[in-house]
Amino acid sequence: MSDSEAALLEVRDLCVEFATQRGTVRAIDGLSFDSVAGEITGIVGESGCGKSTTALAIMGLLPEQGRVTRGDLRLQGTNLLALSPPALRGLRGPAMSMVFQDALAALDPTMRVGRQLMEPLTLHLGLSRRAAHERAIELLGRVGIPSPQLRVDSYPHEFSGGMRQRAMIAIALACSPRLLIADEPTTALDVTIQRQILELLLELRDETGAGIVLITHDVGVVAETCDQVIVMYAGREVESGPAEAVLTQPAHPYTRGLLACSLDLAHDRDRPLDAIPGMPPDLLSLPDGCPYEPRCPDAGPACRQMPSMVKVSGLHQAACWRVTESDPAHG
């Protein structure tokens, strides 16, 4: 990750732990990345690998049992971890904001969509009711909801899935945040709507210049939208770099596995669907070495030791012993 561009969000060596009844779980272990304004940073991985926890940690919305135990989170240079709760509340909305996976659950069922859109506007920008209402209509139109002046008074249950997700994005964008975190924004939608929402995100990135962190388990989504990508496994980053490099020349066996699992309907119609054998490890009893070692087809004796991120090429990095072994030129 370059230092030449001023990073909007800097995540350094982030560790998050959860206190559970069976012991302390390290949900994120040593995650570092930068998000640059006007770029989409993808975080990919299986369920439970720490993607959503990363989002909540950045927003300061970890559940009570969760705690950032190490590391640094800086948004435009401000140390987010040192802020008081009210100061952090002041940043949520105007500086950073979040789109959730299930828009129906994330919208208040008893409140009209327009009023929910007006809330951040009155809360942070101090707009009058009338001005906020005007702006709400404008925002709904901006995210592509037809006849926004009529729709502004609808309730969430009257919206279709895609419209709800658009409304959710409009709420997140209401105060023009510099950083937008989208946690699986397309997972609950069908494929055509998925594409529309992704296109909307791309448009908004170009238009607002905001930095977007896109969390997904779908490699296809990353390929279509992301500028850079971080692959996570069992709470650790295993590969990161420019999306193109990571997706075309994956260096980590896990990334290769993920790519093999995705389908290409043009060519793969008769091929049985690939799957990575085994299960992600229990975060309570991680192996000492590489967490992927038990499932890895290329594992060797070296993998009993924890690998660290090494350069593959340019900004492309991976945490795998094989990278240095197989390609000493890049060592």
Binding site: M59, L61, P86, R89, G90, L91, R92, G93, P94, S97, M98, F100, D102, A105, A106, L107, D108, P109, T110, M111, R112, E119, P120, L123, H124, P146, S147, L150, R151, D153, S154, Y155, E158, M168, I171, A172, A174, C175
Partner: protein, 342 residues
């Protein structure tokens, strides 16, 4: 505006369009049909409520009862304590619609005043239980820790006793205390209010019912708040920088409100019954004060000879309680988001 299948450009609905794409139909535009006016939560609830005949019956009776309660002193043909020694133990007649009692008081006037007492208690105590219950139920989870534990402990304690007997117990205990307090108060202020034992009766009933009756409501609110708090829209609210107070007043409260309304409207009838029962047992409103309960009680002594003395207040009480039960039922259908067939 309804979509006419014949005019759509959907080839599935209208194969003619597929066969002849360059037909003379107007060009496809992005214009969508105008959405129907939005259904509001309360609008939907109102429609469902008024479709329920029992609910409407209950509402009509309740409004009537409320009007009677407010205007009772003026519409009653006689004073509620006024005695006519020439008309003792009379059956219903043109002069006395529900007859008279053993000391010549007009029963109709007393029933009207009894309704006034029941409504006063029903509404005032309901209001008190809503205030206590909602505060306890929402502040507990909000503040957490010891406050929550204490609230739960008190609620469980109250819920472990039959509410009515606990209220009776509180009434019996507090009555002498209120009475002893009243004498010095009267001497200090000189206000006639502190000499009127009827005022104590009201105060004691009000106090004992309010202290006991809030527990189920508190538990309901607490459970709702605990569930709602884990919902994603609360997290989403925090993600746009909303404070706990903002979330509680704007998002938790409206989501709990429906359930509270249902519980309270059903509870009003029960509260009126409790007041009557306390008065029936002689620890509530005492004669000459009029309560449906003490009317039934005094009537019981001569029910063979004058059944109307029991029947009239008894029927009145039953109808009122039924009305509130119907309202509660209809509201619970109307405000329950899971029962939606509309």
């Amino acid at each position: 505006m309804k979509l006419d299948p014949a005019s759509t450009h959907d080839p599935v609905a209208n194969p003619a369009n597929l066969a002849n794409p360059a037909s003379e139909d107007p060009p496809i535009t992005n214009e969508l049909p105008v959405p129907t006016p939005p259904h509001s939560l309360w609008g939907d609830a109102r429609r469902t409520f008024f479709r329920n005949r029992m609910g409407v019956f209950g509402l009509v009776v309740a409004v009537l009862v409320l009007l009677i309660a407010i205007t009772a002193p003026w519409i009653a043909p006689y004073g509620y304590a006024e005695q006519d020694w020439n008309a003792i133990r009379q059956g219903p007649s043109a002069a006395h619609w529900m007859g008279t009692d053993a000391v010549g008081r007009d029963l109709f006037s007393r029933v009207l005043m009894g309704i006034r007492t029941a409504v006063l208690m029903g509404f005032v105590v309901s209001l008190a239980t809503v205030v206590i219950g909602v505060l306890a139920g929402s502040l507990g989870p909000l503040l957490g820790g010891r406050v929550d534990a204490l609230v739960v402990w008190i609620m469980d304690g109250l819920l472990n006793f039959p509410a009515f007997w606990l209220a009776a117990f509180v009434a019996v205990i507090t009555k002498p205390a209120v009475a002893t307090l009243a004498q010095p108060m009267y001497e200090a202020t000189g206000w006639a209010m502190f000499e009127n034992t009827l005022v104590f009766d009201y105060l004691v009933v009000f106090l004992c019912l309010s202290l006991v009756w809030w527990a189920p409501l508190g538990r309901l609110v607490r459970g709702q708040v605990l569930t709602l708090r884990e919902q994603e829209f609360i997290l989403a609210q925090r993600a746009i920088g909303a404070s706990p107070w903002w979330i509680t007043t704007r998002h938790l409260a409206p989501n709990v409100l429906g359930q509270v309304i249902v519980q309270v409207s059903t509870g009003i009838g029960t509260l009126m019954l409790a007041e009557s029962a306390l008065s029936f047992l002689g620890i509530g409103i005492q004669p000459p004060g009029a309560s449906l309960g003490n009317l039934i009680y005094t009537g019981m002594t001569s029910w063979r000879a004058e059944p109307h003395l029991v029947l009239m207040p008894g029927l009145t009480l039953s109808v009122i309680i039924l009305a509130f039960v119907f309202i509660g039922d209809a509201l619970s259908d109307a405000l329950n988001p899971r029962v939606r067939d509309r």
